[in-house]
């Protein structure tokens, strides 16, 4: 098996964004995932989000681990650099890449096996460090590439395709991200693109560790009765806390909302999150409330979706480490080497 080339011929009437790019310019290679896979919908949502944000594709770096989800960066933003790393260790590679050049936009794509099992440690620590990224967990509760074993996000009591009941507690990735210090936490559903695209846009623009858990049904191994990650189950139990709109800047807000139930969360980079609340009491800037609400919902078997938490004053790892503005990969001898005169002084101090 090699790769399949996608035709580059564009229809002349395709809509262009502010950069003159059509959505096709944000596509990648043809997906090799199963027909109907939730992950392909997430790739499509990412294409839409980047296109709408008017981001030049080559200014994005896509990093992933191993698994079905981690293959997807090859299927969107074909003119971006991508890095399919090792299983469960994408967060550290993304951290290093980000340190080398903070000017690019970093997308981390992972799955539930990648993030909640083998990579649980790195998942937690990348959130603690506040690495500026959009971390997208394509969560289907199952190992797809190895044909249907439970993953660590499979709910207690849910059944595999072969009818085996899962007796282990599920890892709550949203709860963990909240506890570990992620400054933007949301959950989406691959079957609801309208909700997902603004969530992704805001995550991409968020200047800190943004985590988006996307329930993404596996049509081959986890879309049956008894699964809590199937299209049917998620549609039935989806409780959205809000409908989100993302505005790159305050000036560009043109749509007016009905008063009441809408809150604006200005971010310190000038962008604005506009939330139409579906649950009247939900305050997405309150981390403790977010932890309580997701835990309560999980206990009832509901899947809470939408923007769950955002810290409008978030900072990232570069700020914590107080690094210079110029990306490290552009610094040369002049900026980095202290020179021979200094070395003589150092030698003298060692006698």
């Amino acid at each position: 098996m090699t790769y399949i080339t996608k035709p580059r011929l564009h229809h002349p009437t395709l809509k262009q964004n502010a950069l003159g790019f059509t959505r096709r310019d944000y596509e990648g290679k043809v997906s090799t995932l199963c027909a109907g896979c939730g992950h392909d919908s997430i790739s499509a949502a990412l294409i839409q989000a980047f296109w709408e944000l008017d981001i030049e594709p080559h200014r994005v770096a896509k990093l992933s681990g191993i698994g079905c989800s981690s293959k997807t960066p090859d299927y969107f933003l074909g003119t971006s650099h991508g890095f399919n790393t090792v299983h469960g260790r994408m967060p550290s590679v993304l951290t290093g890449a980000n340190l080398a050049n903070g000017d690019l936009i970093y997308i981390g794509v992972s799955g539930d096996g990648d993030s909640a099992s083998i990579g649980l440690g790195q998942f937690a620590h990348v959130m603690r460090r506040g690495v500026n990224m959009a971390y997208i967990l394509e969560n289907n509760g199952v190992y797809g590439l190895t044909k249907g074993q439970f993953s660590a996000t499979a709910d207690l009591g849910s059944r595999s395709k072969r009818g085996v009941e899962n007796t282990d507690s599920a890892v709550d990735t949203v709860g963990l991200a909240l506890l570990m210090g992620a400054s933007y936490v949301a959950r989406g559903f691959s079957g609801d693109k309208e909700q997902l695209v603004p969530i992704l846009k805001a995550a991409i623009a968020h200047p800190g560790a943004a985590f988006v858990d996307v329930i993404s049904p596996c049509v081959a191994f986890n879309n049956h009765t008894g699964s809590t990650k199937s299209y049917d189950y998620v549609r039935e139990h989806n409780e959205a806390v809000s409908r989100l709109d993302f505005w790159p800047s305050r000036e560009s807000i043109t749509v007016s909302y009905e008063a009441g139930g809408v809150i604006e969360v200005p971010q310190h980079d000038g962008s604005v999150l506009k939330l139409r609340k579906l649950d009247g009491s939900y305050d997405p800037t309150d981390r403790v409330e977010a932890i309580n609400a997701t835990t309560r919902a999980a206990a009832k078997g509901e899947v809470l979706t939408g923007l769950l938490y955002v810290d409008p004053s978030a900072e990232d790892l570069h700020a914590h480490l107080s690094t210079v503005e110029t990306p490290f990969n552009r610094l040369g001898e002049k900026e980095l080497c202290p020179g021979s005169a200094m070395l003589h002084k150092i030698n003298a101090s060692l006698r």
């Binding site: 650099h81 890449a97 340190l99 107080s322 900026e335 980095l336 006698r351």
Partner: protein, 613 residues
């Protein structure tokens, strides 16, 4: 009774309790010789413990400048009752035992072939200081004072060193000077001529500097242009990352903005450390990690990825005794094989073998260049003996005309001009392809990096021929590395000889001294000091030119010898292992004894063929 008499050539060993404040006092003692122009070679022998367990500090005073461990002890400063019997046993006959005789010890606790020098250290410090911690700390300075008097160390030199150490801390300066004087005067009055070991001003130090290998490597990383350091604390490498941090704070801060031209991340484990380094290397920053054997074991999956996906990575392995947790505070050269072939599948990695702090500095900077040039992991294989002991070494040098070799990086201009880009395409015939940094060009030069097989244009492929093409190129690239790595250093004895010896890394100082000893015993030996893997032609030639080659190493399994056999197809009968692996640094006495014994056996003339025995 015999009395060891020596000037500027003896070994003093301090037996202390960890955490008692002896380390800085003992270092002061070692430095006082340097200030008198007499080379010393000190070594810490310490436990994996913070407080309470035995620790030793061995100072070899050597006007000849031999920096290896000599073996044997001429004067034992026995300050630890726990290890008393062992310490007393270790003294060479005719040597000296210096101890605290505040409490009398039974005669059975001594030996009658050594000279015993007692001094009531506890009594003296208790009479002067009231605080128990002060009593403990100043007791160390009191015995340094006494030793200065016994050994003729110039008191002015020690006073000067104490002055430098407590500059701006007057409160500490005075009591330290007092304690020193107290010990000095006591020994001058009451212990005159009890020790036959003497220091005499000399001119053996020259312009050499005194520094540990970890600090030197940390500084080398600063000079070599590393901007990202990710690490996880592990003995004996932690002080390397900490030294990098210290030097960066001083040398790598933008004066105008006050912001850092470096990023140091103490990661959650070694997997994350190497992951961060791989990510930074992929994105064009010079990055390194420092670790030891157990860390290498954890990193191997990523090392394989960096090898296969061709990402520059620099790893310093400060080796300790293995396997497993092994001997965390003892030295060995036992990670050679684990690093050379780290990770599953067919892999080979570049290794550098620095011999001392000077080369730790040099090789650190060289490794960053090599990693970029070869787009592959490069290991700097130092060890605890070099890394954690201060050593006299050549002063560091840097040529301001030197430019960092960033390797083959295709720029936006080159892509725009239509230069063909294939991430794994060998355009120059050296096996090294071009790479691009992410974000270089809007439409050209992007590629997908992966650990799976791919074709010359980085497109996923599992076709056999495509796979073979790629891994053969990697082998060709490794061939290219041979000429780029630091070349071996040949030392010819000046006579025609059948015997040669190959060695590397921290074995150097002991080897240099062993050669002299062997020469005095009439054994002529050519030597080749390896400084890198892959092995260059010079190594093959050296083996070919000698009938017997001793391969001197500090591990049980003759790891380098194994590599010489498999990589160069050398004759196993020709390569004789000389192995030292008890965790202490190899000594000249050991090497000379091992080699001379074998030479004697080899030199026995065989019975002539055809004659009856």
């Amino acid at each position: 009774m015999k009395r060891i008499e020596a000037v500027n050539d003896f070994v003093i060993k301090f037996a202390n309790v960890n955490g008692s404040g002896s380390a800085s006092a003992n270092e002061l003692f070692a430095k006082s010789f340097l200030r008198m122009g007499i080379p010393v070679s000190p070594r810490n022998i310490f436990p994996s413990n913070i407080q309470g367990l035995p620790t030793w500090y061995e100072v070899r005073v050597t006007e000849a400048g031999w920096l290896g461990r000599r073996g044997g002890v001429d004067l034992m400063v026995a300050m630890n009752p726990q290890t008393w019997d062992q310490d007393v046993r270790e003294i060479d006959p005719g040597g000296y035992l210096f101890y605290d005789d505040t409490k009398p010890l039974p005669k059975s606790k001594f030996r009658d072939d050594i000279h015993v020098v007692g001094m009531p250290l506890t009594e003296i410090t208790n009479a002067t200081f009231t605080d128990s911690r002060e009593r403990q700390l100043f007791k160390n300075i009191v015995y340094i004072g006494a030793l200065a008097a016994l050994l003729d160390i110039e008191p002015g030199v020690i006073a000067e060193l104490i002055g430098e150490q407590y500059k701006g801390k007057e409160k500490l300066l005075k009591p330290n000077l007092n304690a020193f004087q107290m010990g000095y005067h006591y020994a001058e009055e009451k212990l005159k001529d009890t020790v036959g070991l003497k220091a005499k001003r000399a001119y053996g130090v020259g312009d050499q500097i005194f520094i540990d290998g970890n600090s030197a490597a940390g500084l080398g990383m600063v000079y070599g242009g590393a901007t990202v350091c990710a690490w996880y604390p592990i003995t004996p490498s932690s002080s390397l990352a900490e030294a990098f941090q210290r030097y960066c704070a001083r040398l790598r801060v933008d004066k105008d903005s006050g912001r850092n031209r470096h990023a140091i991340v103490q990661a959650e484990d070694e997997l994350a450390s190497i992951g961060i380094v791989v990510g930074a290397g992929w994105n064009g920053a010079r990055a390194f990690t420092a670790t030891s054997g157990p860390g290498i074991s954890l990193m191997t999956e990523f090392i394989g990825l960096a090898y296969f996906a061709e990402i520059p990575v620099t790893i310093v392995d400060v080796q300790r005794g293995g396997p497993s947790t092994g001997m965390p505070t003892r030295t060995q050269q036992s990670d050679i094989l684990a690093c050379a072939y780290a990770s599953h599948g067919d892999t080979k990695h570049v290794l550098l073998f620095p011999e001392d702090p000077y080369e730790c500095f040099e090789h650190a900077a060289a490794a960053l260049d090599l990693a970029d040039r070869l787009q592959t992991p490069v290991f700097v294989m130092t060890d605890l003996d070099i890394g954690m002991n201060q050593r006299l070494t050549k002063p560091f040098t840097w040529d301001d005309a030197r430019r960092y070799d960033r390797g083959k990086v295709m720029t936006a201009e080159q892509l725009e001009a239509g230069k063909e880009f294939g991430r794994y395409l060998d355009v120059d015939g050296d096996g090294i392809p071009y790479r691009t940094y992410p974000g270089t060009h809007p439409t050209k030069g992007s590629f997908f990096t992966r650990g799976t097989t791919r074709d010359r244009y980085a497109r996923y492929s599992e076709e056999g021929s495509v796979y073979v093409d790629n891994v053969q190129r990697l082998l060709h690239k490794f061939e290219t590395a041979k000429a780029l790595v630091p070349q071996p250093v040949l030392h010819e004895c000046g006579k025609k000889t059948r015997f040669g010896a190959i060695y590397y890394g921290s074995t150097s100082p002991a080897m240099a001294e062993a050669i002299k000893a062997l020469e005095a015993a009439g054994i002529a030996l050519d030597t080749l000091r390896l400084r890198a893997f892959p092995f260059s032609e010079a190594v093959t030639d050296f083996i070919a030119e000698h009938d017997q080659v001793f391969v001197v190493e500090q591990n049980r399994d003759a790891q380098l010898r194994t590599m010489l056999l498999s990589e160069l197809n050398a004759d196993p009968a020709k390569l004789m292992p000389v192995l030292h692996f008890d965790g202490t640094p190899i000594t000249a006495r050991f090497i000379a004894a091992e080699i001379s014994e074998r030479v004697q056996i080899l030199n026995v003339s065989p019975i002539k063929k055809g004659k009856a025995a």
